[in-house]
Subunit: 204 residues, 2 copies
């Protein structure tokens, strides 16, 4: 193959590996791939198979599809957000509430990015105003008192769920950041043991 069509894969992989604070050897070991090969991939000298990409994605705790896209196996084509909206709305695995939550977040992100693209000075919390706007129409105040009270209670419960979810996300994020460091040390210990054993075998 004269020129490898590997797109941005190598750079992306290296970036993700660095974000995870893993050495080349650590990621290679975690993915079950040889470290020279991983080095070659990162430098764009090789185009790995989808199987290898799956293994790497798993070790990096990112979705394989992410790497497929970077490698040019899956196409990046959505510009209007229609597919994301459609996919979310037609997904049978999540309920309506969750769909709405995801859509709100998705739209917030899009707005945030659009604002950034416009180079408009972004307020401290750009997503906040849309949320409040959405919350008020949901109220529909003129209804019966009981109806209003029930709705307020429902909102309170939803807020509690959101707190739990956000907490989960934050905790997970921290775990992801904390684990690599620990794993790194732990892996070093393991590698020391492995290496000594390996050295013994070679010596023998």
């Amino acid at each position: 193959m004269g020129t490898l069509n590997v797109g941005n894969l190598g750079e992306y992989l290296r970036e993700q590996r660095r974000n995870a604070q893993l050495s080349l050897r650590q990621l290679a070991d975690a993915a079950g791939v040889s470290n020279p090969y991983l080095s070659q991939i990162e430098r764009g000298l090789r185009k790995p198979s989808a199987d290898i990409l799956q293994q790497l994605a798993k070790a990096l705790r990112i979705s394989a599809e992410t790497l497929y896209v970077q490698a040019g196996i899956l196409d990046e084509r959505d510009r209007d957000g229609i597919e994301v909206r459609t996919a979310i709305l037609t997904d049978a695995a999540i309920n309506e509430k969750q769909k709405q939550v995801l859509l709100q977040i998705y739209e917030s992100f899009r707005r945030e990015n659009a604002a950034a693209a416009d180079a408009v000075p972004v307020p401290a919390r750009p997503p906040a105003p849309p949320r409040r706007t959405a919350a008020r129409p949901a109220g529909q105040g003129p209804g019966a008192g009981r109806a209003g009270q029930k709705k307020a209670a429902a909102k309170k419960a939803a807020a509690k769920v959101a707190d739990a979810v956000a907490e989960t996300v934050v905790a997970r994020s921290r775990a992801l950041k904390a684990i690599p460091a620990r794993e790194k040390q732990h892996n070093q210990d393991e590698r020391v043991i492995k290496r000594r054993e390996g050295d013994d075998v070679v010596g023998a």
Copy 2:
């Protein structure tokens, strides 16, 4: 390779080719693939790369993802999730961090639903099960008063999710900027770049 993990690909390919009323040679020529290789693929003797699958899909005028699924590159069992994930990942309007956040939330929703579907009592979290149990009867509407209150609470929680998560994203963004290790890695990047340039020269 002792046993090729090619799933149903060969049979599926042959079926599609026959449906299109193409001979093996015609399809191979249209796809830019050698006809003996196509024969081997159809007989399950070879596992083609994603590039070859793309070429074949294009010649057959079907989506490459269809063949990826048949080849086991994409998981069909996870089909609904795949569409959402793929849509999110291929969306050009949001960046990588946002994509990962959305995916994490999506996954936690799915997990939440799967756990609720399994109705597995979680001993580790005694507070959580009662809340979920309450959310479920709400849908079934056994008790009108309580069910209504719980529904309203759920809505409020959902509304707060976006705010909490957006806050998380902002916090994470700040954390990423604050991490000194990032600078360290940046320096490593420079070193690697220098080294790679040297290597490239040697390679050329």
